[in-house]
């Protein structure tokens, strides 16, 4: 067991894997061979205390599965997870409960995660009841008001008597954040928290989340497919492709000086609000779509879409993450030439 001695690191993930094996019955009924889905296939990263760490990638790259592993909603196939110096890879039920108080999750669709018949007050009291937090109604109300104030839902007393459907998308996401804060967590896992919110108000929610993070010294794992928000919201970014991290580093470095051809392609594809492009067919460095994680290409798993792939990329073992300085890491054999 590799104990983490660095006090700066809150979460250390080492060679984490999650392979899904389909049920025999299901595979057979579909007339298919039983194939293992390698959703997360050996990822390692550290998240420092007070840091916002973003995981980005196309859908199917394994981001949500990683989030669930970190939340301990699912068990890893292999690998280790050290949280606050403690190995949490396989912990007993009792400790799991304590862990779940320290690590909270914000979902993509806040509406789906709230009981529509609950008033906002009850939505916020639910975690207190689940975790059997001591206190009478008045004490709980105090905690609820404090959490709502933290996310700038004012006046809190007025909102406490409303139902979720009476709130705007942004307000619901605030309430969802308040609900996680009420348990005084150390870390929040936010899986696409703003992707269902209008572009025009996304930044408002992200600002709020950042304020909360600073006020309370929280640490975030921010999962998104949106590079633009990741750049401003996150301190560091890890780019995932088919269950692996292919590039990782400080946010500005990743966007301004990407090293991996996949990161480059993602960045090139982002539309910019500028004139003069209507009659131009955009050059896209990569074609096709992400392959199935049940059928991961040999060698560098990106080689089937990579414009720079050579025979070596197909036959040699997969490149590992390599640090070129300043914490900027990539996993591309040909990074210098491209």
């Amino acid at each position: 067991m590799s104990e983490n001695k660095n006090p700066e690191v809150l979460l250390k993930v080492e060679n984490l894997k999650k392979h899904f094996t389909p049920h025999m019955g299901l595979a057979a009924s579909l007339g298919k061979a039983r194939k293992v889905v390698k959703a997360v296939d050996g990822i390692s990263f550290d998240i420092k205390k007070g840091e916002i760490f973003a995981l980005i990638g196309e859908s199917g790259s394994g981001k949500t599965t990683t989030g669930k592993l970190v939340m301990k909603l699912i068990e890893p196939t292999s690998g280790t997870m050290i949280f606050d110096g403690e190995d949490v890879t396989s912990i007993a039920k009792k400790q799991l409960e304590a862990y779940r108080r320290k690590v909270q999750m914000i979902f993509q669709d806040p509406y789906a995660s709230m009981n529509p018949r609950f008033k906002i007050r009850d939505v916020l009291e639910e975690p207190l009841s689940i975790h059997r937090i001591e206190g009478d109604r008045a004490r709980h109300d105090e905690m609820i008001v404090k959490a709502l104030e933290e996310v700038k839902i004012t006046p809190p007393e007025e909102f406490m008597t409303r139902f979720p459907h009476m709130l705007s998308g942004g307000q619901r996401q605030r309430v969802a954040t308040a609900r996680t804060l009420i348990l005084n967590p150390k870390m929040l896992v936010a899986d696409e928290p703003v992707s269902m919110i209008d572009l025009s108000t996304r930044a408002e929610i992200l600002h709020m989340m950042k304020d909360v993070q600073r006020d309370l010294g929280l640490t975030y794992l921010y999962i998104t497919h949106d590079l633009s928000t990741a750049r401003y919201f996150a301190d560091r970014i890890a780019v995932m492709y088919l269950g692996r991290i292919v590039e990782m580093g400080p946010a500005d470095m990743i966007i301004d000086k990407p090293l991996h051809p996949y990161t480059k392609a993602l960045i090139d594809a982002v539309p910019e609000p500028e004139s003069g492009k209507v009659d131009v067919i955009k050059e896209l460095p990569i074609s096709g779509e992400i392959p199935s994680p049940a059928n991961i290409p040999a060698g560098c798993r990106f080689h089937t879409r990579c414009p720079y792939a050579t025979d070596e990329c197909k036959t040699l073992p997969e490149p590992e993450l390599e640090d070129i300085g300043g914490g900027h890491m990539h996993a591309c054999r040909r990074w210098k030439e491209i």
């Binding site: 209008d198 572009l199 108000t201 594809a269 910019e272 004139s275």
Partner: protein, 322 residues
């Protein structure tokens, strides 16, 4: 250029039990042959309602409460449903609904679904129809063998291509695309945008492209129509909206400022505080006044008309009144 669509003072209200939702309130614009017109605005501003209104398929309890929709000079609003079904909907106007790619019937092959659509409208032998289907799949960059596949065997990008091919089938005069790339990843989105540009160029097609993302309109739209609270706030060419001078309506200004730019580092991301209004009881005067950073006394009293401020550039804002 030929004007193929003229929308004049269109009003479409939803008559709900809670009140009348003025989803489209005096909306006028044109569409020319071979152009892509972008409809942009936050959710709830009336973009989808515009699409379904043009398709002569407003959702209940929506009703045309005024105005005209002229396709090649003929108003389609008063036409009997039988006529619309035979000659207008899908024949002249087609629409790719938001999320349509996820509404393909799971138990039928792509070929069977496309064949059904085709045979509903055309008297065609099966073989001839299949030939046509193969041709259209080719146009959207898919191999003919996709006909034999089921929706779950296709990726998101492939399904969206199938949906686009199906909309083009009957050679409509224009196609409305409602958030066609919102559910797709950025690389696939760029591939679909490229496809639309190629189709437009090759066949001189006309599109109405609906999205809440101004950056996408900059990529695809020749002209951009910015909607706010059931009205047009600004309408201009791509160069007028995205060029040096920039947009003129405070709403468009804010919408553009709130559009994240990956390649240009800014201090922080900006946003528009508040939400679009409830259209049962929209604000008096300019509907944008509660959120406007340039609001004046007059804005609370009188509604600003949509006025031409330079050739082809229309803005509805009292600030531009000399």
């Amino acid at each position: 250029m030929d004007k193929i669509l003229e929308v004049k003072n269109l009003k479409l209200y939803y008559h709900t039990s809670k009140g009348v939702v003025k989803a489209l309130d005096d909306v006028s614009f044109d569409l020319y042959k071979g152009e892509t017109l972008g409809l942009v605005g936050e959710s709830g501003c009336g973009k989808t309602t515009t699409g379904t209104a043009l398709l002569r398929m407003p959702t209940a309890p929506g009703r045309y409460d005024g105005g005209q929709i002229l396709i090649d000079g003929r108003d389609i609003i008063p036409l009997p449903e039988k006529d619309v079904r035979k000659n207008v909907r899908w024949e002249e106007v087609a629409m790719v609904f938001q999320g349509a790619m996820n509404c393909l019937t799971p138990v039928y092959t792509i070929g069977k679904q496309m064949l059904e659509t085709l045979q509903e409208h055309r008297d065609m032998e099966k073989e001839q129809a299949e030939e046509l289907i193969r041709e259209y799949l080719g146009l959207v960059g898919l191999p003919g063998e996709v006909m034999k596949r089921y929706p779950h065997e296709l990726s998101g990008g492939m399904k969206q291509r199938v949906v686009i091919a199906t909309a083009l089938f009957l050679k409509p005069k224009f196609v409305i695309l409602d958030e066609p790339t919102t559910a797709l990843d950025v690389i696939v989105q760029a591939q679909i945008i490229n496809l639309l540009k190629k189709l437009k160029k090759t066949f001189d097609l006309s599109f109405i492209f609906i999205t809440h993302d101004l950056a996408l309109e900059a990529e695809v739209a020749d002209r951009i129509c910015v909607m706010y609270a059931g009205k047009i706030a600004e309408l201009g060419t791509n160069a007028q909206i995205f060029g040096k001078q920039g947009p003129m309506h405070p709403y468009t200004e804010k919408l553009l400022a709130a559009t994240p730019r990956l390649h240009r580092k800014v201090e922080s991301l900006s946003f528009i505080p508040g939400t679009p209004p409830d259209l049962i009881d929209p604000p008096k005067g300019c509907r944008f006044n509660p959120r406007c950073h340039k609001v004046m006394d007059k804005c609370y009293v009188e509604e600003p008309p949509l006025k031409e401020v330079e050739p082809g550039h229309m803005v509805a804002c009292w600030r531009l009144e000399k």
